[in-house]
């Protein structure tokens, strides 16, 4: 090398890439990750942080794993580079193992994980678990809890894993070895998995039209300020390649968005006032070099910073400055649930416990920062199509149309693969900005948030300040529970009302309590907006109610398992919102499943502590419940399955799979309802032009609500097929091209679909590709005819969970069903240093029916990882922890062993008995860990995260008190 510098500072570099020689010219300081993606189109290498903090961009450089975001392109010269797109037996064995074990969920970390693992396996013949942990320790995963990734790598290391395509097909068709009689209940490999393990899945940043302009958002460095703009036209004129500088004035429709119709308080671009650090002020649109060449400090923005109102105490203080003029006391909304009389309840109790609890902002830390592109269609333009990562395409559509000031028919949302969501991609982020930019410039526009931009500008888990009080009688039966919980909702409403409404319904925990009074407030501050995050406030509330339960057990001399068992909601009980639990209520079974482990752990820990004064162990236990679906609101889902004259069976599924596996679960349900195997379907997922509204991927509702819609659609199509053949309900179906065979006992009838006149033409058809073999199709001409216009039969299904409104005292039927769980944690505390290592978690979850046990376990593992982070290390501080080295999430080395019990107490209203598990997975973990810390040390933790210095300080107090 080093080649002479060429035009525009580019250097020529030659290297071997995945076995083939490559030669290119690019700017030398541009990272290798960027060069692989932008110059070579190898978008399997993901960019999650540009700082070496997440490992998503891990590639092999001269046979060693490196973060491609930290390697200058200049240093690629002469090197051997391998990426996730590499072919080879080892790579294929790892891919198959990842699929089989469910080691890829959203798939954004998967390329990095695969490369890190291949680095290990190429150099180490017989790695053990610690070797695997060392090898993948530098790659963060937010979905899986790492458990199944380690299992997959160890299986390949052990030599058991095959790599041939048949092995792969088997995982889809016959995971148990035999052809599937039923898909429900089997460990089917995820139907969208293969693109995730080959690097061909397309996430928000992975594709855009070649002529797309780039957009970069200029954000407020101040938490509260007014500003005026100077002469932007001159900036534009002086910056070659800059096409537009968008301001609030450029928003054609309403310059506001928000979840609730009456609370659309967040501007797309700030109109002279900013309310949090990171708020969007301007959008620069132009060539990539142009938008990345502008130095924000030189833009004509005159700032007048004001004293920011940060934190709940400041916002609720007497005379606090209002964040929004129309809310003088900063209280956005209040929630309330009241039943019985708590005064009486406390009086009749033999023990009363009370406490105050504090939780921090928690960042979703999905490894994929928000990204996407928008395309104007037609002159005018007639329509805007936004392609981006999202959890809620139909909500994005409504928000975008409103911001553009156009009818909703003029907007289309096309979700990409979603590299983790956890609630953080329920709110719009890039969508309205992209739509406005494409509308104004009449050109395609793309954007990729940086990690810091993502963390500073998008929603968080609400910090909570909770007071709670509980009483119980001598036997441990709860007689009263009271809670006053304040939630810091930040500068804008987002999902604040949902948190305020969900918490009263769940706040006393999954227990029988006759006298309850739960009050909540969502409070505006000048902090980062808080929104939806796995559990909507319940994880915070559970820390309070479970701690009080431990207090009561201690006061009454009862075992902590026993006090939960005696109070556990059961079939036929009434909740404190007055709802009769008619069907699935498996908390008693969950607790019973843990009992043997609980007793053994207590004995084991006592023996350990007798010999170990410094490193003390403890066990804790916690329960949870969580209503599936939206609180007392209609939240229907509609699914459609079509059969065309050529025999193509297409499942039009509007439920976005954010990694949790809804595409697979819904395919399994639809398959059994129809009577054909899951591999018979081609899938069209989440495109607002092609699929019906399935609602948001939130509230643990897709398996339960969309699962029912998928079941109904499958049954509808089956009914029509059987009618066609005059066959009975037990007939077997098979589909071979246009030949549809219906076997009914001895009788068999073949229907040639090509001879049936098309019932109707689908309005618009297309496909994101057959899930097993093809990548998602993300070219602009997505709606090309895919041979789907000749629909001969169609199955439709719509389902809305039956709920009622809640009265002023929170009484009613807020949810059709609830997920229940009990988890126990065993920890070791180094009492000299205040550090906590979680050794074991045993988790029992009542999921009604595990449609796919591997996916359910994956949700539990991932939820536990997030619960562990919430308890021990995660604390977002605006302006301070806006990256993934100051904001810590668990690595593989922080994970405990996990044992899962899947309790199947069938929910009669659920599809095949199933309920949701997404949020339930997380909620019990933190309180179980806190209970274990208390058991080990005597320290009653009331603030999370329990950073080492906080626990040590508490231990000092504890010591002083004795």
């Amino acid at each position: 090398m080093q080649g002479k510098p060429t035009a525009a500072g580019a250097v020529e570099v030659s290297f071997t890439l995945n076995g083939s020689p490559r030669h290119l010219a690019n700017a030398p300081f541009v990272s290798l990750a960027e060069t692989l993606r932008s110059e070579l189109g190898l978008t399997g290498t993901k960019i999650g942080c540009e700082a070496g903090d997440c490992g998503a961009c891990t590639v092999l450089l001269n046979d060693r794993q490196v973060c491609a975001c930290l390697v200058p392109t200049a240093q690629a010269d002469g090197a051997k580079i391998e990426t996730v797109e590499v072919s080879g037996a080892l790579a294929d064995r790892l891919r198959c193992a990842f699929l089989k074990h469910g080691a890829a969920q959203c798939g954004i970390c998967t390329p990095g994980m695969l490369m890190a693992a291949s680095d290990l396996l190429a150099r180490c013949a017989a790695p053990q678990r610690p070797d695997v942990e060392d090898a993948i320790g530098g790659v963060l995963c937010r979905c899986t809890g790492y458990i199944k990734i380690v299992e997959a790598v160890l299986e390949v290391a052990g030599g058991a894993m095959g790599s041939d395509p048949t092995a792969r097909r088997t995982m889809h068709d016959r995971p148990g070895g035999e052809p599937l009689a039923h898909a429900v209940g089997t460990r089917l490999a995820r139907v969208d998995g293969w693109p995730k393990v080959t690097g061909s899945d397309r996430f928000g940043a992975d594709a855009a039209p070649a002529d797309a302009l780039w957009m970069r958002v200029v954000r407020s460095p101040h938490a509260r300020a007014r500003f005026t703009l100077g002469d932007l036209e001159t900036v534009k004129a002086d910056t070659p390649g800059l096409v537009a500088i968008l301001t609030a004035k450029d928003v054609p429709g309403e310059n506001s968005f928000g979840i609730f119709p009456n609370m659309k308080d967040q501007p797309v671009l700030a109109p002279g006032v900013v309310r949090f650090r990171g708020e969007a002020v301007l959008a620069l649109v132009g060539s990539r070099a142009a938008v990345e060449g502008v130095f924000d400090g030189e833009l004509p923005i005159t700032w007048r910073p004001q004293q920011a109102v940060s934190g709940l105490a400041a916002a609720l203080a007497e005379g606090a400055a209002p964040i929004h003029a129309h809310v003088a006391d900063n209280v956005l909304t209040r929630g309330n649930l009241r039943c019985g009389d708590v005064t009486v309840g406390h009086c009749v109790g033999n023990a009363t416990a009370e406490g105050r609890f504090e939780t921090a902002f928690v960042e979703h830390a999905y490894i994929e920062p928000e990204a996407g592109f928008a395309v104007p269609v037609g002159a005018g333009p007639d329509r805007i199509e936004v392609t981006a990562c999202t959890q809620a395409p139909y909500m994005d559509l409504e928000e975008t149309a409103r911001v553009l000031g156009v009818d909703q028919s003029r907007v289309r949302i096309r979700p990409t693969a979603c590299g983790g969501g956890f609630g953080g991609k329920l709110d719009v982020s890039v969508q309205p900005l992209l739509a406005v930019a494409a509308w104004v410039t009449k050109r395609p526009v793309r954007i990729v948030y940086t990690r810091t931009e993502s963390m500073a500008s998008t929603t968080k888990r609400h910090p909570a300040s909770i007071w709670a009080k509980a009483s119980a009688d001598r036997a441990g039966r709860l007689t009263a529970f009271e809670m006053q919980a304040d939630f810091n909702t930040g500068a804008y409403a987002s999902w604040g009302p949902t948190v305020a409404n969900r918490v009263p319904v769940h706040g006393a925990g999954p227990y029988k309590v006759a006298n309850v009074w739960n009050r909540t407030r969502a409070v505006y501050t000048n902090d980062t907006p808080a929104g939806a995050f796995r559990g909507f406030g319940i994880p915070q509330a559970a820390i309070a109610n479970e701690t009080l339960l431990d207090d009561l057990a201690e006061q009454l001399g009862l075992d902590r398992w026993a006090i939960r068992r005696i109070n556990a909601l059961d079939h036929g009980d009434r909740t404190y919102s007055g709802q009769l639990l008619e069907h699935s209520a498996g908390l008693p079974q969950c607790l019973d499943a843990l009992k043997a482990d609980w007793d053994a752990a207590l004995t084991r820990v006592a023996a350990h502590n007798a010999a170990q004064p410094r490193k003390r162990r403890g066990v804790g236990i916690a329960c949870m419940w969580y209503g599936c679906g939206n609180t007392s609101l209609s939240n229907p889902s509609s699914m459609r399955i079509t059969l065309t004259r050529d025999g193509t069976l297409t499942f039009f599924n509007g439920a976005v799979d954010i990694g949790q596996g809804s595409s697979t679960v819904l395919a399994q349900i639809a398959a059994d309802a129809l009577g054909l195997p899951p591999c018979a379907f081609r899938m069209v997922v989440g495109d607002t032009d092609l699929t019906a509204d399935a609602g948001k991927t939130s509230a643990s509702r897709q398996t339960f609500v969309s699962g029912n819609a998928a079941r109904l659609a499958g049954e509808d199509l089956r009914r029509k097929i059987l009618a066609l053949a005059n066959a009975g309900p037990d007939a077997n179906l098979s589909l071979d091209g246009p030949r549809l065979t219906i076997c009914d006992g001895e009788a068999s009838r073949v229907v040639d679909l090509s001879l049936i006149p098309a019932e109707r033409n689908a309005r618009q058809t297309g496909s994101r590709g057959h899930p097993y073999t093809e990548p998602r199709v993300l070219d602009v001409a997505l709606t090309r005819n895919c041979g789907m216009t000749d629909v001969v039969l169609e199955g439709l299904g719509t389902w809305d969970p039956p709920t009622t409104g809640l009265d002023a005292n929170g009484q009613g039927i807020p949810y059709a069903t609830y997920g229940f769980a009990a988890q126990m944690a065993e920890v070791e505390v180094d009492t000299a240093l205040g550090t906590v290592k979680v050794l074991d978690i045993v988790a029992a979850h009542d999921v009604g029916r595990a449609i796919n046990p591997t996916l359910v376990e994956g949700q539990i593992h991932g939820g536990i990882a997030q619960g562990l982070g919430l308890a021990l290390m995660e604390e977002f501080i605006p302006g301070r922890t806006e990256n993934l080295h100051d904001y810590l999430i668990p690595t593989v080395g922080d994970m405990p062993r996990i044992k899962s019990f899947l309790i199947e107490d069938p929910e009669l209203t659920g599809p095949y008995g199933a309920k949701g598990v997404g949020e339930p997975a997380l909620i019990a973990t933190a309180p179980a860990i806190l209970g274990a810390i208390r058991h080990a040390t005597g320290v009653r933790v009331t603030r999370v995260p329990v950073l080492p210095h906080r626990l040590w300080e508490a231990l000092q107090h504890e010591e002083a008190a004795q």
Partner: protein
């Protein structure tokens, strides 16, 4: 437009360093994160870059007589697998604690030193090794003891026209040497230290401590030696060392409150880690039970 220099020889590199205002880049593990942090808030400017990765003179670890010479481009991973005496056990342990495998494969020990972060995992060990830093400019070569090289918070003695070319670790007089390192962070892997301690203990023929060098990191603007403790430990039985450590021995540390820990905790944690380190070293001298 940023100028990116990637010379093939040290001589060329030093000429560039003499003439241009450049950021020196080796593995990039500090340069790129700093760039990302600035550009995220709209500061898209960047200094010109001097990429020293082609300088073969700066590679390799060698036995150079009275000392070991660690080339400035030596990565953490290269150090981990290098065949080195027990003197380097502590530094190897630190190497395993830096970031994750990706960072260890790219990051250099000299780069960790030049960044001068108070939490640089390599620095306490270099103090314990009593290392000297070799610096070159176009006109001169000099050696600076590591304790003089680290001037203050992210400040080093490396001048604008100099490049760190090697780290020199003197060989101890005794063969009975132990070195050790302990790091405390809030998670496993990819974690910035709350506190850390490195130590070297030489045992005399009488089985007692002949010499120690101990250094605490992340508890001051630069890592600090524990000179009073080192003096006090001379002549002590290794097994008695841990109990001899008092808070006064660490009184000169100046820890701060930050997002990772309180100053008070850091001071306590450092004390605990020093005791743990000495106890663990002592355990290696215990006669093995058959």
């Amino acid at each position: 437009m940023l100028t990116y220099h990637r010379p093939a020889t040290l001589q060329e590199a030093l000429a560039i360093r003499a003439e241009c205002d450049v950021t020196v880049l080796a593995g990039g593990t500090d340069v790129y994160p700093a760039k990302a942090a600035r550009s995220a808030w709209g500061d898209m400017r960047h200094q010109d870059v001097l990429d020293i990765s082609r300088l073969g003179e700066l590679r390799g670890i060698a036995d150079a007589g009275w000392h070991w010479r660690i080339g400035a481009l030596t990565t953490w991973s290269e150090l981990i697998v290098a065949e080195l005496p027990a003197l380097f056990d502590g530094l190897k342990l630190a190497a395993r604690e830096v970031g994750g495998a990706q960072i260890q494969n790219r990051g250099t020990i000299a780069g960790n030193l030049c960044t001068g972060s108070p939490a640089g995992d390599g620095q306490p060990n270099l103090l314990a090794l009593d290392a000297q830093i070799e610096l070159m400019s176009a006109s001169a070569r000099r050696r600076v003891p590591v304790r003089e090289f680290l001037v203050g918070y992210r400040q080093t003695a490396c001048r604008a026209d100099e490049i760190v070319t090697a780290i020199l670790a003197p060989k101890p007089s005794s063969v009975n040497v132990r070195s050790h390192f302990l790091k405390l962070g809030a998670r496993r892997y990819l974690v910035i230290s709350i506190a850390m301690v490195a130590g070297l203990v030489e045992i005399g023929t009488d089985g007692r401590i002949a010499k120690t060098r101990l250094a605490v990191g992340a508890c001051s603007a630069v890592p600090e030696r524990l000179l009073a403790l080192e003096t006090a430990l001379v002549g002590a039985a290794p097994s008695a060392a841990a109990d001899m450590v008092t808070a006064e021995h660490l009184a000169h540390l100046t820890p701060i409150d930050d997002i990772r820990a309180s100053a008070r905790y850091r001071r306590h944690a450092a004390l605990t880690l020093v005791r743990d380190l000495l106890a663990q070293i002592a355990a290696t001298f215990e006669p093995r039970v058959a």
